[in-house]
Amino acid sequence: MTSTILDQLRGVASDLFNIPASQITAESSPQTIDAWDSTQHLNFVLALEEKFGLQLSPEEMEQMHNVGEAAKVIENKLQGSR
């Protein structure tokens, strides 16, 4: 995984969950971030779609159990679209 994508996701998560990016790691998840519930998860996915200009399916959304996994899904999606 490129660190750039992970860094960008940390930025998105930071804005959305109102937490400093420095506190967000690849392991950050709904279990470690109080504000990350199912609705915010959808908000997170919608924000990623807008940032990366792609559309994610509900199945891909479900694979995003933490920030690192979300970055992997985005990376795979971007590679697939090239």
């Binding site: 199912s38 609705t39 399916s57 199945e59 479900e62 694979q63």
Partner: protein, 373 residues
């Protein structure tokens, strides 16, 4: 096991029955059941149609964990373009009885957003419900579509309206209002005063028609530009929504001086415990240039009074229709009929704060058609 969202097919019907059983066993509201049959009875898909309904189910290894309905319909927008828009309704998630499936509601909505980028919700039962709460957190634009009612028989209204009869004291007071005649006098005075302040609509005629035919098309063409967004209501669409053989609805053609000025669809609602034994009529749908809304409202009300209803209800988003209801003697009350537009749809309606008052949404665009009739 991942959850997959797929079109609801006949082979899923038994799994849907199991899903409904789990919801009911888990203490969900009795109304919260998903559609028993995969093929919609109202507006099933047909080749080439742009007005139809589809159902989808969330499957986990063959077990249904949720589902939703999506109605597709063409809408006319203020930029003159007709676009197909999705109406997201009846979402149900196992999350309401089992927290392990709390994410299903968001997955269902995401699936609908992917299938129909222009998406809206309407109805939903009030702002305190989970769906509008979620939509607001997602940044959807929203407002409550004003609710109006006209009490035809005040004594029955005071005796039967269960929403008001919530305590022994209130029941006593309402019984007194009903039996003493004070309730009748009060309601008739307020409604009468509203009518007195109304402009005179001039003479008009109202004719019951068996079906909508080509006469509805010029009305659609003439009035559509008055609205920032409205479901297409040409003759062909109206014949699909209110087919000639459907006796649940009365179709009214309203004219002045021999020239069509509008139409209305009215019907008596099914019994609902919140209305007790009252017969409740609804102005389901209506169309006219906003300037001609009053005669259409008056024609619709008169038709329902003729049918013997005790109460008439209507939800209208456009202020000129709302004003026509007030001029027709209707009173307004808090509305639980919420309109919410997804971000892509909202982007077409900018500035939303101005354009929201030019949207034309009625009960017919919401979740009550046809199940409430």
């Amino acid at each position: 096991m991942p959850i997959l969202i797929q079109p609801y097919r006949e082979e899923h019907e038994s799994a849907v029955r199991d899903f409904n059983h789990r919801l009911q066993s888990g203490g969900a509201d009795p109304d919260l059941v998903f559609f028993t049959f995969a093929r919609p009875r109202f507006l099933p898909y047909s080749e080439g149609a742009n007005l139809y309904q589809e159902y989808f189910v969330a499957l986990e290894n063959g077990v249904v964990r949720g589902g939703y309905a999506l109605k597709r319909q063409n809408f006319f927008f203020c930029d003159g373009v007709v676009r197909n828009v999705g109406y997201y309704h009846h979402p149900l998630s196992e999350g309401i009885v089992n927290k392990a499936y709390a994410s299903v509601g968001a997955l269902l909505l995401k699936d609908a957003m992917n299938r129909s980028p222009l998406l809206y919700c309407l109805g939903m039962g009030g702002y305190d419900r989970p769906l509008p709460t979620m939509l607001i957190r997602l940044g959807w634009a929203h407002f409550a579509v004003p609710f109006y009612f006209n009490v035809v028989h005040p004594n029955v209204f005071f005796r039967e309206l269960q929403a008001l009869r919530t305590s022994t004291f209130r029941r006593g007071l309402l019984n007194l209002a009903a039996w003493s005649g004070t309730g009748w006098a009060g309601v008739k005075t307020i409604q009468g005063l509203r009518k007195l302040r109304a402009p005179k609509p001039g003479s008009f005629t109202s004719q019951r028609v068996e079906d909508f035919s080509d006469w509805a098309d010029p009305l659609w063409e003439q009035a559509r530009k008055e609205y920032a967004m409205t479901a297409v209501r040409d003759g062909q669409t109206l014949r699909t929504l209110y087919p000639g053989g459907d006796t649940h609805f009365t179709r009214l053609r309203v004219a002045r001086g021999g020239r069509d000025i509008g139409w209305a669809v009215v019907g008596e609602r099914r019994k609902d415990e919140k209305y007790g034994a009252m017969r409740v009529g609804s102005i389901v749908d209506c169309w006219a240039a906003p300037d001609n809304a009053l005669p259409v409202v008056q024609a619709a009300s008169a038709a329902l009074v003729d049918q013997g209803v005790d109460l008439i209800v209507s939800n209208q988003s456009h202020p000129l229709w709302a004003r026509a209801l007030e001029h027709g003697g209707f009173l307004n009350a808090a509305s639980n009929f919420i309109f919410a537009a997804g971000k892509n749809l909202t982007a077409l309606l900018q500035p939303f704060s101005e354009n929201q008052s030019r949207l034309h949404f009625t009960r017919a665009d919401g979740d009550g058609l046809p199940r409430n009739f």
